[in-house]
């Protein structure tokens, strides 16, 4: 993996303020990363599904909000289960929530698709733990 090639970032959250904040933070930390934002989880799901059919070499980091209408973060992951091998290969998924519910953290630990869990708001230190190889 090329050190200069920054990972692509996908943000999935129905809260626009949250998306704006995370975008600003990521731009600061990973100025060369391409950032895609979805405020509708269903749209995000279809995008991810399509991407797996024609994967790009670069690893994509996804910040996935849990509490969303129509399709929650967990439901989205559930739909991706069929493609778990590919998804694990190309996606690094971090769950993101403002919830203080410890069950979300537990679920994140046991879900094979999930690399980690962050409480909102996202901060710089969180980025350091996403894997220094990218930063």
């Amino acid at each position: 993996m090329n050190k200069n090639s920054s990972p692509d970032i996908i943000l999935v959250d129905d809260d626009p303020i949250c998306n704006m904040l995370n975008e600003l933070l990521i731009r600061e930390m990973l100025p060369h990363s391409e950032i895609t934002i979805f405020s509708n989880s269903l749209e995000a799901y279809h995008f991810l599904l399509d991407s797996l059919k024609n994967p790009i070499a670069n690893t994509t980091i996804i910040f996935l909000d849990i509490n969303m209408p129509i399709m929650s973060g967990w439901e989205l992951l559930n739909e991706l289960k069929e493609h778990i091998t590919k998804a694990r290969q190309y996606y690094k998924i971090y769950m993101l929530s403002s919830s203080l519910d410890p069950r979300d953290n537990d679920n994140a630990k046991t879900n094979p698709l999930v690399s980690g869990f962050f409480e909102k708001p996202l901060n710089r230190f969180d980025f350091l733990t996403t894997g220094d190889s990218h930063i």
Binding site: I17, C18, N40, L42, N67, S98, E119
Partner: protein, 801 residues
Amino acid sequence: MELIDNGLERAFEIVAGTAPQAILIVNKLCKIVYSNPKVSLIFQYTTDELHGMLIERILPEFNIHESVLMQMLFLDEESIPNPEPIELITGITKKGIPFQLKLNVASIQPDVPHLKANLQNTLEENALKSEKDEQTIRLLSFSSAISRAIIKSKTEIELSNQLCRIAVEIGKFEICWVGLPDMVNNLHNPIAHYNATEQDKFVLTTFKFDNNGPTGTVMASGNYYLSNSFEKEPWTPELKNYLWSRGFRSYLVLSLKKHGRPHSTLNVYSNSKTIFTADQIEFLNGIAQDISDALDNLELEKMHTAAIKNQNDTAMLLNQAEAKAHIGSWRINFKTGISKKSDEACRIYGFEPTEDNVFKYEDWRTAVHPDDWGYVKQMDDEAALTLSNCIKFHRIVRPNGEIRNIGADSSFDVDDDGKPFGMHGLVYDLTDKLNSAAALNQSEANLRLIIDLLPQCILLKDINGEFIYANKNYCDLFGMKFEELVEKHWTEIHSSDKYNTINKHDAEVIRSGKATILRDFIFVDAKGNKRYFDVVKSPMLIAGSKKQAILGVLNDITDQKLAEEERVAILDDIVSRNKSLEQFSQMMSHNLRAPVANIMGISSVLELPNLTEKNKAELMEGITKSAHVLDNVIRDMNKILHLRESINVQREVVSFKDLVRELKVSLGDILENERGVIKTDFHEMPEYYSIKSYFHSIFLNLISNSIKFRRINVPPVIDISTKIHENGFELVFCDNGIGIDLEKYRDKIFGLYKRFHTSAEGNGIGLFMVKTQVEALGGSISISSVVNKGTEIRIYFNDNK
């Protein structure tokens, strides 16, 4: 107290013995006369120690009511929930340890007057019951009369006729006949009879006896033949039927001998099965022997002497038997006007027996109780008209003023011309028997009362299912009196849905031969109350008849069951409250924290060095938005919390039509902008007595939802109507909106802060509020929806007043 020996006593023992309460019976001397095993368990005294003990030793605070014959105490150790206030009392155990008990007291004061009212009946019954003693007296009189007949009679036929008459009149047999059997043609050849009907005579003269039958056997052996169970005899059905139809239940054939060989038969029939005991047969056999002797003895003088000797012997026996049985005899000669009484008869009337025991009419007249004189006179006059036998039951007053109850029977002595020349009869003192009968009745009445007082419902039914006995509590279940219930079959009083359960239980009791319990038997009593019982049934034999029966004891567990149901309901309520609290905390953790997290995030991002002015402006706007969201969440929380408290608000008549009119005004612009239409049809249920603010909120939320979730370019149409149902009514909200995919979201539809659309605004509180309010009003809510067609919400209230 003496408990009488019958089925009731056994029932009482079983019920009291297994009762959960401690049961004591205390007499008016404050002494314990009965205690069940539970008492021993609680107080640690044995039953023997308790018996006769003063109640104050174990219950020092207990006050006895002197006016009450006995008191029955129910003591409860455990605190079973009981709606009625119960007296608490301190008990002291054998070791002197005091403790608290719940006390229920019932008084036992049986209604005695009914015994008096039934005196006449009881007298008659008892006269009939005068049993063996009286029988013996009869037979002795019989013997005595026969002796006289032997002395007087000059021919065999005359003796036979006298014999038959005496047997019926004094021996109280139904019919009597003497046969000189024709052993060649097997004919009975009756030579004398008494009380036989024309048909009897016809049967007797035409019937051919079997050589192995009674007559054949007696003629061959010279022994007597007794039958007191016709059904076992090898006779023809015609003969059996005939004997039954005449009311005969036993038949005795005695052998009359001449020169020591069977010569003729003496046949007596009785309508009682038990009239012939071994002793009595022996006695009758003796008489038959006397007659045989008489037949043998052609020398009148010799016969005469023997008869006189016999008469003297029997007279002595008679006197002894009379004294023993308290039965006296008397005789009056109309010609001489002299009345003679036996020694025992004198004693009954309260006179010392003398040498001759002469008794004047006037003495007897004064002896009869003044109140009973009318009855006695009437009976005597009626008897005199027809010269018939007569039995009277009345009171007499002894010279010392003592009142006795007596029975007296009388027969006229008639000469050859059919004119009466005297009277004779028996008199028996029934006072003691009546007293014991009264005591017996009282004892049974007590026992019935006690069983009626037991808190359990008790029934006794025979093996066919017909009620033999039931206590008051059981009868009350069906709103019936004992008299109405007894002899009914249980299927007549139970509803058919109970047949299977009861049949199974009864069958199990009979099959196992053991007490069997049926738990949680649910039953709706005559008052319409739902009751729960544990039913214990055990097989038992009815005293005397040896018939099998089922004793049932129903322990009422309704209070426990209701408490249990209440507990379950409370538990359900707690679970549901807990669930909403959990939801509430989830809401706290997410919806309250989301804007906070945003504000925190913004404040840290604002420190980033390379922010544009545009970025900064957006972030500042983000803070404002987040602050508003936070405010809204807090307001919603407040609404929800307030909602849970405001259920005690005053109720009023809510007119649905008015409500919609008000909402149309307040929704005004929103509705107009979208060209929305609200159609209503409340004719089935125009108004409802309830909390107006709740209905306002329910209508507002549902109408707003329909507008919010309208289809693009399709003006919203909202149909609101009421429908009456059997037990309540329904509010139906119907729209033509985008609908909800219920397959996916059914579980979450009414959840707090659940949103299903990204396309429309909505804070996720609406349906949650509606559901909470509907449930607070005691209703329920359901939803059906088709995506892109519309949504229908039904609110059901189980009440249509």
